[in-house]
Subunit: 299 residues, 2 copies
Amino acid sequence: MARIIDGTEISRVMREQMAQEVAALKAAGITPGLSVVLVGNNPASQAYVSSKTKACEALGMRGQTLNLPENVSTQELFAVIDRLNADSSVHGILVQLPLPAHLPYKAVLEHIHPDKDVDGFHPLNAGLAFVGDPRAFVPCTPAGIMEMIRRENIPTRGKHAVIVGRSLIVSKPLASLLMAPGPDATVTLTHRHTQDLASFTRQADILIVAVGKQNLITADMVKPGVVVIDVGQNRVPDDSSPRGYRMVGDVDYAAVSEKAEAITPVPGGVGPMTITMLLANTLQAARQMQARGTSGNPR
Amino acid sequence: MARIIDGTEISRVMREQMAQEVAALKAAGITPGLSVVLVGNNPASQAYVSSKTKACEALGMRGQTLNLPENVSTQELFAVIDRLNADSSVHGILVQLPLPAHLPYKAVLEHIHPDKDVDGFHPLNAGLAFVGDPRAFVPCTPAGIMEMIRRENIPTRGKHAVIVGRSLIVSKPLASLLMAPGPDATVTLTHRHTQDLASFTRQADILIVAVGKQNLITADMVKPGVVVIDVGQNRVPDDSSPRGYRMVGDVDYAAVSEKAEAITPVPGGVGPMTITMLLANTLQAARQMQARGTSGNPR
């Protein structure tokens, strides 16, 4: 049976370490702060935002939510972001997605100052991450996967990492990180147009699945000894759960666990790491602003 | 025997089309202009720069070279770039690499206004290219390879493209372009740490080699019917040549040609496309500046 890669436990250890860094920054007069902009009243978005700001506060950081009405104009939203960009007590800014359709989400994300873009969605950060620049804010999910791999001592050099899915916020940045000097993996990126997906997944030493389709990866599609990172988050009706559903990943967990060397569960695998990396990125933003002695002047 | 993908001929056709666009822009009062900054007296760099500006002029564009002394300071170089950034008659700016060791080349490249960065080396352009934004300037060599593939009607959707090498200016951007919606290739990126390289290259429907090592790819490493794009540029001593050397790629051309469906020669394959795409990027810069009615204001 596969070793379980416990994202909750890795997150706990990381957050403990980060709490100490926060304490040190506070002793130096800086309280790292994350401001989340939430437009409208989508209950799922509200829950996500609340868990993010609460996680900040649990670490001793400042977590602020700015709730704007559903019908806010682009200009009003830009003005809010401008104010946060200029506020030296704000280190990280995050605009919760999805935005209402009347707002130009790309322009909104580009309006966040790159030095405070802790989601890593500004194209300047995408480019800095692409070239391996340490100033980059790497999007939280791929950053969290790399952190799990490092902390679990999973070898990557010369290993074949196969990624299923090609999203801009998970798969493509992850491919870029895994192939870079250091991790040094051979990387294959597959997607809906890939012919004979199983012929690729069976080659994987490390298999990362980020599609959003239950049971996409079955046991016959992996080789013995594979390490499986399951990024999928799918709701399955479950009357025995108080919520009426449970979460499963993209991988047939029970069957694949019997062949894999290690596997991330859903829930409790990649999920907790994503918020942990948001905290890490906010801390990085605070440290970088401290080092520059700025509140995020254009670089 | 493989069909030869003739980069010189594709370039000729493209440049003819571009000359018409240049004429139309000139009729509208805009002469697209490229300014190349050359530091020092490296003969190879001088030759490259000269071929770039001459190619501009052949199209009716303006090609300008600013030759700065080897010992120019960072501040002086920045001042030159600032002036070009602000000059509305300059649409493309290129700093010829390599720079002398005392100059911080990353900071220099980031000093070029992204709207004029026709080499596509500014991290903002790397990020825009990464997310598939049409404003991006894509580095000339991968852009040229994509253009060859399109114009030669080489199918990419669902095909397995294997890239050998992981450079930031060729292989990584090319991987990103090939896997994106549209081209839709399955992409594997291999490099010096890849174990059993041949097991990957043999899977390739499209094989792109960008390493700089003569005869790296031999006939036994490809499958029949592969399309081969050889980015290598290696000098081989040759007494029969007036220069005393000839250029070869990374692929054993004679032997691989017998198995491949199509192949790019060296010279006359990818090489001519690179300058052609520099012209295309400069034209794109001029068009974008015309559309904005700006001389490259911050976006």
